[in-house]
Each structure stands twice: as structure tokens, then as C-alpha cells.
């Protein structure tokens, strides 16, 4: 059965943190510790994200795409996953990585230009390598989900992508494939309103959540800055995927508060006021107010959460700052599972040249 939703987004919390849907609020399977953990994860994400931008400004990272403003979308959805579920990120999912316990130092090596992918152990941590070609990871998620279904595993895949990604052929082919095969997968679109300089209105003429109609599975639009609403729809989608093999397309409406990446100059294409207007919808502040009103923000917790966030940001800085490149020769070992002759020759040359260089340097 195809479930359709009204065109307005699912919301539990108003921008000021008050509960607009108390039935939904109370029906959530989240205890106080969960709420605090989510808040903490949002804080850590915010701090690490800001630290990464700072690290880039200081030349420690080559480039960094901030997720500022998208914390609720990422933490809410990631929190809805089980350990067995597999995350397929794009390049902006530090918040998801935080929830999944991914080593953020190794992650930042991607942005430093010292490794590709950024994820030390994708299969073990059930978190795929960072995927840069827009939308391409959608197909990997569908394939993994099909594999899980064939193994009758009680697990699903979730794939993250942006509003711009929905224009790509791979998005379509993946959704269609998942619909036909009943793959346990959640298509999680962070509609942050922009694909670099292109606003979503120039990206597509239909609401993103509605695209699910084309594939015979449910689509839902959610307030992406409302962490509880995101959690709720994600949780439902995960259950539908695992239990019924029904995919869901979630459109989390949010906003990219920062530039596309540290290399971008957003003033060229959007007005300061547009960004400012979204300041009111800050997802952290909204959630903080809820927690406050629910009496969960005792000073001890707040201090601890902030200290944790600062500590993690500091750990990332310490781990990445001045980190030396990994020698090129090592990369040769992972082009193939073996070392064919033609490559061995080249590797030898690299070893020879770099050792000469070191020799000279010494």
C-alpha cells in the first residue's frame, strides 16, 4: 500500500521548542537518556563541524563542507538506526558519523587530503566510505539492502544525499530498483535548499518527497530541523524497510547555513537575509528549549555535554593537525588484491625516488 502524506512536513516541535504534536511526542520510544544523548550528539556535531571549518581556515584541511544547520536531520535519522543497519553517506554527514561512533580523526583525513573515503573500517562500522560523485552512493545502498534481504538479515540500509542529488539518474535507478525488489532501504534526502549555487526550485519542479510516487513506495516530508520529527519518520521508515521490505523516501527540509564548502563564496548567489531568516529555525536551539521545558537540562549534564563536545573537537584537532601524509608507496598495495608486475615496477620506482629524496633531505 502506498502511503501518501500531506504536502506539509511532519513536525513535532515548533521552532520555539514547544510541542505541536503532543501525541506524536509521547508516542516516541525515547527515554530521557536518549534525548540527552541526542542533544549531546548534536552538540558534538556542531562543535566538530565548526572546528573543521576552523582547521580548514588554518590550512590543516584542504577543504571542508560544513553541515551547520543540518544537525537535527542527521542526528534524528541516525539515532533511528540499529547496529546492524548500514549507512551510505555523501560528503556532509559528520553528524551521522558522530552517532555511529565513526573515528572522526580518520574521517578528517579525507578532508585533509591524506586518505580517500575517510572511514577506517566500513564493513565493521557499517558506514560506507564518503561518496563524492553526487547520488552515486544511492545504488550501493540499494545493492547492500538487496544483499541483506537475500541473507534474510533483519537490517536495512540508509542512504544520505541532497536535494541536488535527486536530479541524477542514479537516484532514479536506485529508487526504482528498490521498489521492484522490495529492498530494505531508506532514502534520506537532506533538502538544504541549495546544490552549491542552485536553489531547489531550479533543481526540480516537484516536491522531493512526492518523487516516491514514481517508485511505488511511501514518501514523506519532515521538518528537518526538528530532531524528534526526523527521528519519528526515520524510525517508521526503518521499521517498514526491515519488516516489510518497503523503502521510504524521506525529504528532510532544512537549510545549509554555511557555504557549500570552505572553498565556496555563497555571497555570490544568496542574500544574507535568507540565511538569517533560517537562524530562527536553528535545530540545536529548538531541541535545547524542549529539553529545558522537560527539565532535562540540569547544569551538570549541560556542562558535561559541552565539555564532551569541546573535547571531541579538540581530539579531532590534535589528531589531524600537522598529520603527515601517508607515503604514496602504501597506496599501491590497495589498487588490487595482489601486486601485478606492471604495478610492482611502478611501486619500486616510487620507493626508490622517495628514499632518494629522504636521503637528500637528511
Amino acid at each position: 500500500m502506498i502511503e501518501t502524506r500531506p504536502d506539509d512536513a511532519v513536525q513535532i516541535l515548533a521552532p520555539d521548542g514547544t510541542v505541536v504534536d503532543s501525541q506524536a511526542r509521547t508516542s516516541l520510544d525515547l527515554g530521557d537518556e536518549d534525548l540527552r544523548a541526542m542533544y549531546r550528539a548534536m552538540l558534538v556535531t556542531r562543535m566538530v563541524d565548526l572546528e573543521a571549518t576552523a582547521l580548514q581556515r588554518q590550512g590543516e584541511l584542504a577543504v571542508y563542507p560544513p553541515l551547520l544547520g543540518q544537525e537535527a536531520a542527521q542526528i534524528g535519522s541516525a539515532y533511528a538506526l540499529g547496529e546492524e543497519d548500514f549507512v551510505f553517506p555523501s560528503y556532509r554527514e559528520v553528524g551521522v558519523a558522530v552517532v555511529r561512533g565513526i573515528d572522526l580523526v580518520e574521517y578528517m583525513h579525507f578532508h585533509r587530503g591524506t586518505r580517500h573515503g575517510g572511514i577506517a573500517d566500513p564493513l565493521g562500522s557499517r558506514f560506507a566510505e564518503i561518496s563524492v560523485p553526487v547520488s552515486s552512493q544511492v545504488l550501493h545502498a540499494v545493492g547492500w539492502a538487496l544483499g541483506a534481504r537475500l541473507d534474510r538479515r533483519n537490517a536495512c540500509a540508509i542512504v544520505y544525499f541532497g536535494d541536488g542529488a535527486t536530479s541524477q539518474g542514479d537516484f532514479h535507478e536506485g529508487c526504482n530498483f528498490a521498489g521492484v525488489f522490495g529492498c530494505p532501504v531508506v532514502f534520506f534526502c537532506q533538502n538544504n535548499q541549495w546544490a552549491i549555487s542552485v536553489p531547489v526550485q531550479r533543481q526540480t519542479a516537484a516536491p522531493i518527497w512526492k518523487k516516491a510516487e514514481a517508485y511505488g513506495f511511501p514518501g514523506v516530508r519532515v521538518d528537518g530541523n526538528d530532531v524528534l520529527a526526523v527521528y519519528k519518520v526515520s524510525r517508521e521508515a526503518v521499521a517498514r524497510a526491515r519488516e516489510e521490505g518497503v523503502p521510504t523516501l524521506i525529504e528532510a527540509v532544512t537549510y545549509r547555513m554555511g557555504p557549500h564548502s570552505t572553498a565556496d563564496d555563497a555571497t555570490r548567489y544568496r542574500a544574507r537575509e535568507d540565511v538569517d531568516a533560517w537562524q530562527t529555525f536553528d535545530p540545536l536551539e529548538r531541541f535545547r528549549r524542549l529539553l529545558d521545558s522537560e527539565g532535562l537540562l540540569d547544569p551538570a549534564f549541560v556542562d558535561q555535554a559541552e565539555a564532551d563536545a569541546r573535547a571531541e573537537a579538540a581530539r579531532v584537532r590534535a589528531g589531524i593537525q600537522g598529520a603527515p601524509p601517508r607515503p604514496l608507496e602504501g597506496f599501491f598495495d590497495h589498487a588490487f588484491s595482489d601486486m601485478p608486475e606492471f604495478l610492482a615496477r611502478q611501486r619500486e620506482e616510487v620507493v626508490r625516488l622517495t628514499s632518494e629524496e629522504e636521503g637528500e633531505g637528511a
Partner: protein
């Protein structure tokens, strides 16, 4: 000794691999009930079930990308592209992900999958059904590229490809699909990276792969009538390339002609020339020449015989090489 066609050998190869490893899957367009447009997967779905052998929607990028996802879930997909030119929509997934996933993941993920691509011309097919796109793949670091020229080696190479932890682009020369060979089907033939001397000769060497190996053998027979003894080398895998075998073949005769169906410009023949020049220059008595498809899009079938390297064209190049 039983006689098999290449199509049958490939079918048996798939069955062999599926029997020895129950993680092997077969997917693609029309590979199920139809058994593939060339019947390479004939009755495999009936025998191995719809979970392990399935038709996909008509979307090659999905076939490739989903295969990678399946590999990440521990399966070993063998995907079929229906024809050479229909592998192009999947190039992005192949180049940007399948070829790079091991590298990107610092060796923690095996993108172990095979993409089968019927290739080449000579069968009177319509536009887009006769191309030889091996260079697109051979130039892409991280892929292995196999292309058998005989039924027995097709079986051997296919089973090896499926067992390989690396992604393998497996080309099947359509013009040889119905060629026959007798002998036992076994995966214990030559490994990847080993060229095969299919004919011994002292006067000059022909280097080829896939469909052109048979053509070179024809040329060698024609030459033999004039007392010219040609060595014919089948590369079998373009990546890894048998550098030593190639150099030795060149050194033996000092005169080499490379033959392939793809257009000349930046075809894989150029790589063969470059390797020979690098590794056997002092032994060369003549320029290494190429006899190839011309640098125009593959023409309509009715003139393909003039487009593809013919025995005549090979002999003309040989004349130049021998008279140098």
C-alpha cells in the same frame, strides 16, 4: 573429448562458480527466463533459483552500482551488460566506484564482482552492438580486464574472474561465441597476466586478443603458404598485462604487428606497442605496426568486413614489417 561452444563454456563456467560458491549471483537484463540474448545464462535461473539469478530493470548504472552494494554485503555478483555499447551508462559507477573502492577503503572492502560484456563485431549486428570498448576499462586503474579467445579459456578465465577478489571486466567476443573447441572444462588453465602463444613462428609476431586471435591464426596460415612462419600471441588479459611474455615474443622475432577491432587511436594496441618499445627496443628490426578498426564510429554491418582487420590487411602490415 566433448566439444563446446564458447557460449556453452561460459554457461558451464557460471554454473561451476555458482556451485563452488553459494555467494555467487547472476544479474542483468534478460538473464533469467530468456537466458540472455546469447543464451549464456540459459536455464541457470531454472537451476539455481530466482534469488541467485535475476532480471534487473533496464538500467545499466544500477546494475553496476547495485552489484557493488551486493559485494559490500558479501555477495559475489556476476553482472551482464547486454551489449558492448550498453555498458556505457554504467561507466561512472565502474570508474568512480567499482575500480576505486578497494583503494578508497585502504583494502578493507573487496569489490569482488564481475561485469560480463559481449563485445566486438563481425556478427552483422545493428548500431551499438559491435563495439570494442576495452580501452575505457583497461585505462581505468583498479580494474582487471579479461578477454578469452577460445571456449576452454573462456571457462577458465570466467571462473578465475569470479573467484578474484578484484573487480573484473570480462569481455566476451561475440564473433567467437559459436566457435567450438574440444577438451575438458577446467579452471586450472593459465592465470591472469599470462599471455599464450597460440602458434609458434620465427619470422614475425602477431599480438591479439578476443575475436582477433582467430583472424591472426588465419593470417598466419595464409603467410605459411608463402613460407612465412608467424608467431601468434593471445594476450588473454589486458590488465594485468603479461609484460615479460610480450617482450619475449617481440624479442624472438624482432617484428611485431598488433591487431585489434577497436579504432586505432588510443586503442589498446598503442599500449602494446609502447610496452614492446620500452622493454624490447634493441631487438626490434622494424616498427611495431597496428592493424585495427578505423577511426570512425563502427559502420553499418554490411560493410563491417572492410572495417575490421582482415587477413589481407594483416598481411600488408606484415609485408612492411618483414621488408624493413
Amino acid at each position: 573429448m566433448p566439444e563446446v561452444t564458447m557460449v556453452q563454456a561460459l554457461n558451464e563456467g557460471l554454473r561451476f562458480a555458482m556451485q563452488e560458491d553459494d555467494r555467487v549471483l547472476v544479474l542483468g537484463e534478460d538473464v533469467g527466463k530468456l537466458g540472455g540474448v546469447f543464451r549464456v545464462t540459459d536455464r541457470i535461473q531454472a537451476d539455481f533459483g530466482e534469488e541467485r539469478v535475476f532480471d534487473t530493470p533496464l538500467a545499466e548504472s544500477a546494475i553496476a552500482g547495485v552489484s557493488l552494494g551486493l559485494a559490500m554485503a558479501g555477495w559475489r555478483p556476476v553482472a551482464e551488460m547486454q551489449f558492448d555499447a550498453f555498458s556505457y551508462p554504467a561507466l561512472d559507477q565502474v570508474i568512480s566506484h567499482i575500480a576505486k573502492y578497494r583503494f578508497r577503503s585502504v583494502g578493507t572492502v573487496d569489490p569482488s564482482l564481475v561485469i560480463r560484456i559481449p563485445c566486438g563485431g563481425g556478427i552483422g549486428a545493428a548500431e551499438h552492438h559491435s563495439e570494442s570498448p576495452e580501452v575505457y576499462y583497461a585505462h581505468t586503474s583498479g580494474l582487471k580486464v579479461a578477454i578469452p579467445s577460445t571456449p576452454l579459456d573462456a571457462f577458465n578465465l570466467l571462473v578465475r574472474s569470479i573467484r578474484d577478489p578484484d573487480p573484473v571486466i570480462f569481455f566476451e567476443p561475440k564473433s567467437r561465441y559459436w566457435s567450438k573447441e574440444s577438451g575438458d572444462l577446467s579452471p586450472d588453465g593459465l592465470p591472469f597476466g599470462a599471455a599464450r602463444t597460440v602458434r609458434e613462428g620465427n619470422h614475425a609476431t602477431l599480438v591479439a586478443w578476443g575475436g582477433m586471435v582467430a583472424r591472426c591464426l588465419q593470417a598466419a596460415e595464409a603467410a605459411a603458404e608463402d613460407g612465412v612462419e608467424l608467431e601468434v600471441v593471445d594476450l588473454r588479459t589486458l590488465v594485468p598485462l603479461d609484460l615479460e611474455g610480450l617482450a619475449n615474443a617481440a624479442k624472438k622475432t624482432g617484428r611485431v604487428v598488433v591487431v585489434h577491432e577497436a579504432p586505432m587511436t588510443a586503442g589498446f594496441g598503442a599500449e602494446v606497442v609502447a610496452r614492446i618499445v620500452e622493454d624490447a627496443f634493441e631487438y626490434l628490426e622494424a616498427p611495431v605496426l597496428r592493424v585495427t578498426g578505423y577511426d570512425i564510429p563502427y559502420p553499418p554491418a554490411k560493410v563491417e568486413e572492410h572495417y575490421l582487420p582482415s587477413v589481407d590487411r594483416i598481411l600488408i602490415a606484415l609485408e612492411r614489417v618483414l621488408s624493413f
